[in-house]
Amino acid sequence: MARRKKARAVGVPVAQPAQALPAPMQDAIGESRNSDGFHISAEMTGRIQRDSTIHAPSPPASFAVQASDISKVYPGKVTLFNFSVEIPEGGIFGLLGPNGAGKSTFIRILTGLEKEDSGTLLIFGQKPSPSARKLIGLAPQENSFHPLLTCTENLLYYGALYGITGKKARERAQGLISQLGFAEKKDVQASFLSGGMKRRLNLACALMHSPKLIILDEPTTGLDPSTRRQLWETVTRLASETGATVILTTHYMEEAEALCGKIAFVNKGQIAAYGSPRELKRLAGREVLKLRSVPGEYSRMEPLIRNLPGAEGTTVTEHGIVVEADDAESLVSAITSIFAENSERIVELSVSRPSLEDVFLKLTGAQLKEATKNEAAGGN
């Protein structure tokens, strides 16, 4: 409890320490260890906590969402168990996790689509009343608009649900259409839009009432890379222009890395890890710098490199030399100088950084692979 209090004080939601689950819940959740026998809560929580304590910026004035010990149990399945997270106002917050981890359930509880079995939830410091939830704009994972209506008609309809009508609604719809870049399609029936346009419309529908909290549930799923990147830009611009808090759930690690200032990994109904992308990536290990040169007298250079500041370890192999560092890129200049001084011509140089996926795999074992495989197989 002391650690959690501390984390909250600095505005960093913390994954729960491993707790003894009731027997049925343990059965439902499954083993709390990854395939390597890594105990998520015991080790990761500690590291995250330390990292957070060290790297967290000054505490934010307020939180968009404060969830504490939220549990949700479906018959035969515990979806959320003591789920606690605090999402600061402003910026893009990523919720990552495999299918069935509890992301969507948390969002459904947040938006009022479902009710938590236990726990407390605050939205912008308010209890989750209809007026508080009207501050939320949800862009669901699947396009949810009326395909037979035009883009403008859809926007006007969803505006009307929030009481935005008349001229104000038309101006707002027009603004969103321009802002999201589908002005040319504003009078086109939604069913005739391209996939990217549909995602934009889906997003625009969530923004008609100028929400303070925008929830984007896997907004780029099924989009081609180009469209996906366009949408990233849109989301980034939107977040910066509106100042709204964006919660983004996604399977795509690079998307989270590209968009999110903070990310929470959700696994088995709990927060498995929390932090900035960089902080999280550190959980997966150091960056690796690989060099191959001609004639390849690595043994002469290895002590020099090992003594460089920031170099955490070196290994010589028949294919070259491998240097481990927290920031490998910062050593490149010094190492290339050593190779030059030793008349070694570098024929191959690469820097390998651990990705969020590596973190994710470390946290969840094979689950993401399975999830991805399932997604590829099922198209979902």
């Binding site: 459904r108 938006t111 009022g112 689509l113 479902e114 009710k115 209809p130 007026s131 939830r133 009207k134 939320i136 949800l138 669901p140 699947e142 396009n143 949810s144 608009f145 009326h146 395909p147 037979l148 209506l149 008609e153 006007l156 309809y157 969803y158 009307a160 649900l161 929030y162 009481g163 009508t165 029936q189 529908c205 969530a206 009432h209």
Partner: protein
């Protein structure tokens, strides 16, 4: 504004979903068109276009009569000539080749004549559920009609016999009247006789008999005295006779002397001329003398004649006396007889008195019997007259009125209308029920599956408000369908004049209330359905029973009581009632609006409840 937005959204969606729109417009019209064709037959048509097999084993006048009545309204196929025709026709019915078969047993007519009810067997193909009951009723009516004809002729023969009996009663009445007159007469006579007999005084008779006896004694004594006197008188008469004889002898002698004188005078005057005056005096004297003598002679003759007469009289008297004496003797003898008779008469009077009493008693009895006879004959006359009146009353009745005292004289109020005309007021609500159920349920399921409903939930729209909004929205969207159906009913089928705005308003209001109810029900279905197919099937599962419970296909009157109550408790039923009241009976029943509004409110609450209940699902 949410309502307007919802209506605008749903309206545009329906308008842009061309195939649905076309189906929405076309399907009801097609349904109406098809059903108008199917049920376009006039309700007054009596003929049954079905084939009925006949196996007439009797081939009698009575069986022919029955067959004739059946064949007048249906197609009879006669199998009577075939061997085992009963089996043949049964087989034909069981194979669906005949709608029904009639088997008339052998001895049909004979049995009827003998006063035994005859059984005509009918095989019905009851797999044809709509035709079979009508056919059965038709054949039953034909059998009844034939039975009436047969019974009528029997009754007519009974009437004839009763008329005959009545005539016999007339003659009986005459006899009875005669008997009564006789009885009255007997009474009169008996009365008289009784009076007479009662008046007889037997004591006087006895006294008279006593007096007669006494008189008889006196008479006998007198007779004996008279007999003695007669004997004396006879003695005297004998004396007188002797005297007369002597007198006569004297007279005879006188006469003789006179005769001699006369003769002497006549001789003295003989030779004298009395015309000579000298003799005149003489002749005169002679003549005078002769006259005197002649007169004396005449006197004597007269006296002798008188004596002879007297003697004769005496003889006669004597004879009479003798006779008298004999008579007296006979009378005396008779007197004794009379005395004996009087003695008998005493006894006779005594027995006569007893007889009188007996007779009086008998007469009283006879009188009583006669009186009874009069009374009874009066009663009998009344009875006979009553019987005759009854017979007259009976025979004056038409034989058919006895066989069928109640004649069924039905008159179709809506004679010129077709089945479809009657069906139309039910069809319109029915079509709208299915359209609204399908449309509301599948549309909302589509919204649910496309996650647009989730956006509504996220927008924190109160679910009761959303349910109400959706119900009203679907109702508004389907309102043109209401107008289309009413216009079609009016223009194409003449159900009501389109210019009758009150009627139009009533019908449209009833249908809008119906739409409201079934849109609400559609929302309930949608709330619990995971896919459009589920919603569609659920709508069918709810709609079809409502169709069967609505009384359109199966009248409420034929349903078991609980099912009938259930049928009357569906929102479809009051809407149909409203439509029928206005279109069929031209008397709009505004009372059903209350029921429909209650259904609307209940179902709207259910719809909101269903949305609340299923909000967290999926």
């Amino acid at each position: 504004m949410k309502l307007l937005a919802e209506i605008s959204k749903d309206g545009k969606a329906f308008l842009r979903e061309r195939r649905t729109l076309i189906l929405l417009v076309a399907a009801p019209l097609i349904v109406l068109l098809v059903l108008a064709g199917v049920f376009g037959k006039e309700t007054t048509e009596k003929a049954l276009p079905v084939s009925i097999g006949l196996c007439d084993l009797d081939a009698s006048e009575a069986s022919s009569l029955f067959v004739e009545s059946v064949s007048s309204h249906s197609n009879i196929i006669d199998y009577s000539e075939r061997s085992s025709c009963a089996d043949v026709v049964r087989s034909q019915v069981s194979q669906g080749r005949l709608s029904a078969a009639i088997i008339i047993p052998k001895g049909f007519q004979q049995g009827i004549t003998a006063g035994e009810s005859q059984n005509v067997t009918v095989f019905l193909d009851n797999s044809r559920v709509q035709v079979s009951p009508s056919l059965e009723a038709f054949l039953s009516a034909a059998a009844q009609g034939t039975g009436q004809q047969i019974s009528s002729s029997f009754i007519l023969s009974v009437w004839a016999r009763l008329d005959n009996a009545s005539a016999q009663l007339d003659s009986l009445l005459v006899d009875v009247n005669a008997s009564r007159a006789k009885a009255l007469e007997i009474q009169d006579r008996i009365g008289e006789t009784h009076s007479s007999l009662s008046a007889i005084d037997f004591s006087t008779l006895t006294e008279q008999l006593d007096a007669a006896n006494s008189t008889l004694d006196g008479a006998a004594s007198e007779l004996r005295s008279a007999q003695s006197n007669l004997t004396l008188m006879q003695g005297k008469l004998a004396f007188y006779d002797e005297e007369l004889d002597s007198t006569e002898a004297d007279l005879l002698r006188v006469r003789e002397m006179l005769q001699n004188v006369s003769d002497s005078i006549s001789s003295a005057g003989a030779g004298t001329n009395c015309s000579d005056p000298i003799f005149l005096a003489y002749c005169a004297s002679l003549h005078s003398m002769n006259g005197t003598v002649a007169s004396a002679l005449f006197e004597v003759d007269s006296r002798i004649s008188k004596i002879d007469g007297a003697r004769e009289d005496l003889r006669n008297i004597n004879s009479t006396m003798e006779e008298f004496k004999l008579n007296i003797g006979a009378s005396l003898s008779e007197t004794e007889n009379v005395r004996a008779r009087i003695s008998n008469m005493y006894e006779f009077a005594s027995s006569l008195e007893e007889s009188r009493e007996e007779s009086l008693r008998t007469m009283r009895e006879i009188n009583s019997s006669a009186a009874q006879l009069v009374t009874k004959s009066g009663e009998l006359e009344s009875l006979i007259r009553g019987s005759k009146a009854q017979i007259n009353e009976i025979t004056s009745r038409d034989a058919l009125s006895v066989v069928a005292p109640i004649l069924f004289s039905s008159q179709n109020i809506f004679s010129s209308r077709t089945f479809f005309d009657f069906l139309l007021p039910s069809l319109i609500p029915l079509i709208l029920m299915f359209v609204s159920l399908f449309l509301a349920s599948t549309s909302l399921v589509r919204e649910k599956n496309s996650m647009t409903l989730e956006r509504v939930y996220v927008a924190q729209v109160p679910l009761w408000e959303y349910a109400l909004t959706k119900i009203v929205s679907y109702t508004v969207v389907l309102f043109p369908e209401v107008l289309l159906l009413l216009a079609t009913a009016s223009v194409a089928y003449g159900a009501f004049p389109l210019s009758d705005t009150d009627m139009l308003l009533f019908l449209a209001s009833a249908l809008v209330l119906l739409l409201f109810a079934f849109n609400a029900l559609g929302i309930v279905i949608a709330a619990f359905s995971e896919s459009e197919a589920t919603a569609f099937l659920a709508s069918l599962v709810i709609g079809l029973p409502l169709l069967f419970l609505s009384g359109i296909l199966f009248p409420f009157e034929f349903m078991p009581a609980p099912i009938m109550l259930l049928g009357q408790a569906t929102p479809l039923t009051p809407a149909i009632t409203a439509m029928q009241s206005a279109i069929l009976y031209a008397t709009p029943n505004y009372a059903v609006f209350g029921t429909l509004i209650i259904y609307d409110m209940v179902l709207a609450v259910l719809a909101a409840g269903a949305l609340y209940a299923t909000k967290g699902r999926g």
